[in-house]
Symmetry: C2
Subunit: 454 residues, 2 copies
């Protein structure tokens, strides 16, 4: 075997000291969120019932860099810098001239990138006097990350977990409870939003949109409580840019600047996290890195949704956001990548996609699991089903490089490990997984129900 | 908060190039294994049916250092060097003047130290022409590590998994299958050894001793097959010394040479792995580090066993080893730390303990889980139940330092993560865990049944 360096790990002193805000550099500003009653731009006051002031300030900021407080930086150092790893085993199996690198966020406490924003949100809420946070979770990666962060800052944590995932991933529930959170399956009978869904469909599998409605309602009806969101909003994408800022330095250390960056998208925060610092370099005219988002065919927001104003949740309790959407009452199939079952896409990702600054592709879950198994067998890491979407497309890109006879540098975001998703692997290995290609008519119908704003 | 460095990670170039063999430095040589029929020292020929020649050479070697082949070193770099982490959160919670460090082996593919020897054993077997390996596993850490290693070297893998763990930890089974292994619960009807146990007790929970008997029988009755063991034997302890050799360098980098090293013991390999390089320094008169082994009260091999010749397995198919033992037909309670349910202790550990070179303590599982939860809440890592035994004793040591008003350096071995043990945490959190203090009479009875050799 030839000599190579397998891992690129920064010294703690080189962990970036600021998050990067893409808003400062976009060629046109993103459309503002709207108050659904007035259809006027939503201001900080519209967000005050659910978010604390310092989070709202970040949500509406146009500053290019926002300093990471030392208290957060110290907690980041529990798992950061996350390693950049060269996938030499996968390269060999594919016999590709491409160099494949992945940024491994599975080293965090809850096992995914979600800890990057969970710690920041818990910190700012604590600072602003919040005593309790309510949130939703899909596959449980976000809920467990926030549970741990709340534990560290002495906040109570209430988690509404999408019912299909609650039953598919019982270990995630135990993990949240270990960190002191209260976890219930959504839709639940704890909120008006949940009761309304159950009245219509007592067997509802739940969705992120419904769970968000429950968590928002919970937050505004409990004193001292705020709501915390694991993706989609600007401040969450901001916090995740620590991934890309580290990766930039590590790619320089590896002497392998990426030709293409691949990442999965559900709400879009991990993709923004790794991609936006590289998009900054593109926008400055220094580089021309392709940015490629991968979504499930069962929830094809970018590839089949529309760029419209829509609600962030099923019960229409959020402001209206301009984003790619399948409609806020879109109900995706119960695929195992629960974290990608969201009807819409982060406004900043949507805007960048609309401007042609990035690409998107949709892939089916059986191929995703086959790619995941190849990765586990060659790189030794069991990936989360969400992250495995990026692995499949990375393999396709590496094979395209082989076909073209070019040694391209491919960087993908391995957002989390799959140790708590082995039930899904069991279903795959025993031939029980199905693919879901959501019918065009169903998508058209849910989009037709959207509020007409434009 | 004060400034501190949280993680100590070596450059890949500083990963040690050799394993350390304590046999070269022990003040008296360990007693040889015996052929049970002749009671004469067992030679390489006695081991040839189950191990390949290059493993046997390591098993009987007295060389101080054995070079790590480059092929193994390259695979080690998938996860090595494992980080040395300062447990600042735990220190703060305990308000102790002690500095607590842990070596985190949970970063490996299968999530524990077991990968260190699995890769080495698969490599040497491949080199010597083996095409298939049979093994046993308790909690599944060893079985999954060997499955991954066999996958990487193109060997078939057959795993007999102790039945109580097979049902407690279904995700471990899926993980082994993902890496291509064949996994069956033990006792099984696949072997004479398994059928004999089932005939006597169809409801047998199994034990490591029984599963070893099945795997050994399987190996010797299938062409091209050899047996692979995850602990106890000299060559396994040898491979694990990469942990302690790295830790030595990292403790120097941290300017915190350990006053005491704490580790859990089942078969003893992870403890030997971290402790023996430091024991070398003690034996050379350079240091005086305390070495403290922690075992479960349900299987108190060092603290209540006898130092005698005994078989390594239930069916008496191995040579006789001089070791601390509870008797080869000792049946420990079904505690959740399945990896610690072994009736005996590695001969090299037993010899060192007998010589007074190390200490041992036994702890009950409910206290272990309470310590594990505190660690998860303060350090963000969910520990394996086995590893959590070391956490409990580390806490006791840190509180003793506080009582004494001394700033001691404590190093413990966090041998694995507990992501696949969350069912056990669920049992703990819902108050369903019990402690088992094995009755002295039962221990005395099983020891009385031992072969009389001395």
């Amino acid at each position: 075997m030839s000599e190579y360096k397998k891992k690129f790990v920064l010294d703690e002193e080189r962990i970036p000291k600021a998050w990067y805000n893409i808003v400062a550099d976009l060629p046109t500003p993103p459309s503002p969120p709207l108050n659904p009653a007035t259809l006027q731009p939503a201001g900080p006051d519209d967000l005050a019932p659910i978010f604390p002031p310092s989070i709202i300030a970040q949500e509406v900021s146009a500053e290019r860099y926002i300093e990471i407080p030392e208290e957060i930086h110290q907690i980041y150092r529990m798992w950061r810098p996350s390693p950049l790893i060269r996938a030499t085993g996968l390269e060999k199996a594919l016999d590709t001239p491409a160099k494949i690198f992945f940024k491994y966020e599975g080293v965090s406490p809850a096992g995914s990138h979600k800890s990057n924003t969970a710690v920041a949100q818990a910190y700012y809420n604590k600072l602003d006097g919040t005593t309790r946070l309510a949130t939703e979770t899909g596959a449980g990666q976000w809920g467990s990350a926030l549970s741990m962060a709340c534990q560290m800052f002495g906040l109570e944590c209430m988690v509404y977990m999408v019912k299909v995932s609650y039953h598919q991933k019982p270990y995630r529930r135990s993990m949240m409870q270990l960190w002191g959170a209260n976890v219930i399956p959504s839709p639940s009978d704890q909120t008006n939003a949940g009761r309304a869904v159950l009245a219509e469909d007592p067997e509802s599998l739940g969705s992120l949109g419904i769970a968000i409605s429950e968590a928002v309602e919970d937050a505004v009806t409990h004193p001292g409580s705020k709501y915390s969101l694991g993706s989609v909003t600007n401040h969450v994408l901001l916090h995740q840019t620590i991934i890309g800022e580290e990766a930039l330095l590590q790619c320089q250390d590896a002497d392998a600047y990426p030709d293409v960056i691949v990442g999965c998208v559900g709400g879009g925060s991990s993709f923004a996290g790794i991609a936006f610092p590289f998009l900054r370099e593109n926008l400055a005219g220094k580089t021309n890195t392709r940015l490629l988002a991968v979504e499930p065919t069962a929830c094809p927001t970018l590839t089949k949704g529309k760029f419209v104003y829509d609600f962030g949740d099923e019960a229409q309790s959020t402001p209206l956001f301009k984003m790619y959407s399948l409609g806020h009452d879109f109900m995706p199939a119960g695929i195992h990548a629960g974290g990608l079952r969201y009807h819409a896409m982060a406004p900043l990702i949507s805007h960048a996609y609309d401007l042609g600054l990035m690409e998107a592709v949709a892939v089916p879950q059986t191929k995703v699991f086959a790619a995941a198994q190849l990765f586990a067998q060659t790189e030794g890491i069991v990936p989360a089903p969400e992250s495995a979407h990026a692995i499949l497309t990375t393999i396709d890109e590496a094979l395209a490089a082989k076909e073209a006879g070019e040694s391209r540098n491919i960087l993908f975001n391995l957002t989390g490990h799959g140790f708590l998703d082995l039930g899904a692997y069991d279903a795959y290995l025993s031939g029980k997984l199905e693919d879901y290609d959501h019918p065009e008519e169903a998508i058209a119908a849910s989009i037709a129900r959207l509020p007409k704003v434009d």
